[in-house]
Amino acid sequence: MANRLNLKELERKAFRSTYQDGLWDLYIGLIVICMSIFVYRPATGYNLNNIVLAFSAMAVAYLLFWVGKKYITLPRMGQVQFGAQRKKRRLTLIIVLSIVVLIQVVLVGLQLLAWANPEVGARFSSLILDRNAMDLVVASTGALIVGPSMILVAFFKDFPRGYFIAIMIALAVFLMLYLNQPVYPIIIGALIALPGLVLFVRFLQKYPMHREEATRE
């Protein structure tokens, strides 16, 4: 039989269909663009405005994602609740990501320690010969934290496009930190968002808004 009716495959297909609106791709693409614009090292040094602008832009991106899901795609896609297996995977992802965040907090803590205490900072710096090498280490560390984290998300959330996004995000973080040129991550963010935009348009064409629910009984 060419098309075997496999229940596991059926569940996976139903689960993956919830990503077919492209909103996750658009959201992640926008986040990368937001990061590119605001969280790079300005010549004048970091200041509070950069951070405020970055978080504000990310909040706007999330708001767009939330509004899109709630008012545009979910009413067309329908609601579904998956079984215990999916919940277990989600819980595992939360635990694993918490560990990753903990590692990031330790790294940021070390960085803050180096800033606050020039003596410790000098000791860190002495381990690496020059400024370029330091940038390379920071950029590689950032990419190695963000990329594998997204791979974990893609794996546990059964989101195949997530692997492509993981590679792109790792590249964006690396370029953002190493070259300090926002143009590369902006291009990468657009490359992540573009398939999402195509999917979103196709989704809207394929799934019209259902009015019958309101009139049923």
Binding site: L5, L10, P75, G78, Q79, V80, Q81, E213, R216, E217
Partner: protein
């Protein structure tokens, strides 16, 4: 195939649950078997059935006690959530088991 085996096969066929056997209802039951619950629109999109068609099949499954239909309001809009009852899950499992047996018997 001897007569006894043939009769046995036919008896198995006759015992197939016709309510589940109908392709559209089978699609609905298979989908609801692998998820916890889903609403009307999700089922419609996944099965490719029309509103009226799906509504008819849902009513039959609900009457048989295989489906639980919960009507709620979400953001002031009506929402119909559907879930297989334990009886429905058992009926689906029984159907799969019987069909497997039928094809196994056919292959000899």
């Amino acid at each position: 195939m001897n007569n006894r085996a043939g009769s046995a096969n036919l008896a198995t066929l006759a015992a197939i649950d016709r309510l589940v056997h109908e392709p559209s209802r089978l699609a609905v039951m298979a989908l609801l078997y692998v998820v916890n619950s889903a609403d009307f629109i999700f089922l419609m999109n996944q099965t490719g059935l029309t509103w009226g068609n799906l509504s008819g099949h849902i009513s039959k499954l609900e009457d048989a006690g295989y489906l639980e239909v919960e009507k709620t309001f979400k953001d002031k809009r009506p929402n119909t959530m559907l879930q297989l009852t334990p009886q429905g899950r058992e009926a689906f499992r029984g159907y799969v088991k019987k069909m497997k047996q039928v094809f196994k018997d056919f292959e000899g």
